[in-house]
Amino acid sequence: MTPIGLSPYLTVGAVLFVAGVVCMATKRNAVGILMGVELVLNAANLNFVAFNRFGKLGLDGQMFALFVIVLAAAEAAVALAIVLNFYNNHYTIDVDHGEQLHG
């Protein structure tokens, strides 16, 4: 059996990325859109660590993955606060109802 190289990891990252993009595009629940964002960030993390493992970057890929994890946690906190505000103002979580800024 040949050892697992770089491209299988990148394929898994591609599947996760596409799943996240489709999740962001189709979900009407605001928290569901946040979950899609988490999937996309996770796919980017997987690519960072894979290039770190199979490239000559040294540790830089893993450092980037750590910073992405920290930023994702911060983004989830702020976005959840915004979602709670939206729910308090509109009494719904459906993002299709947020159309006050429609032109």
Binding site: M1, T2, P3, I4, L6, Y9, T11, V12, A14, V15, L16, F17, A19, G20, V22, C23, A25, T26, K27, R28, N29, A30, V31, G32, M35, E38, L39, N42, N45, L46, V49, A50, N52, R53, F54, G55, K56, L57, G58, L59, Q62, M63, L66, F67, I69, V70, A74, A76, A77, V78, L80, A81, I82, V83, L84, N85, Y91, T92, I93, D94
Partner: protein, 190 residues
Amino acid sequence: MNETTWHSILFWIMALIACGSAVLVVLTSNIVRMAAWLLVSLSAVAGLFFLMGADFVGAAQLLIYVGGTLVLLIFGVMLTASGPLANLTTPSRDWLIAAIVGSSLMILLILTLTNPGIDWSTDSLSENLEAPSGKTTMSIGLALLGIRENPNASSYLLPFEIASVHLLVVLIGAAYLARAKRRSDPPTPT
């Protein structure tokens, strides 16, 4: 069975779990089940990190993503998913557009991966100096303090400090945004 075979088997198990539960996150309409599948997917990606020798990043993924961010998301679900809001179905027209966009994006990425003009082969790249040992915690900690084994490598002391200030700003901002306010008009009971 030698170590390479076990590595391959574990990789395919983790990859199948990660991809399958990511697709199930998309296909499920119940928000609570979506959170559960996202938990499985993130844990499998943490397993992939461990397989690549990134032990600290895998542990951070388990602690921060699975233990922190996902719990935060589940709290958001519990605070907002009342009654009919837990199951918001997507109209089939949106599914059609999303399927077209998603499949074309997937084809683009796979074509890029299998492009013979790009050399993805790992033989010329596999002699990584410090990463794949599986003991990266000390190197990462020293790099966050600005000390690198390779003197030409970049220091991460300033990004580390910026991240700490950023986390403080996020803490204050999220607490300000999500503070309890008196509602202007009470919701009509349904």
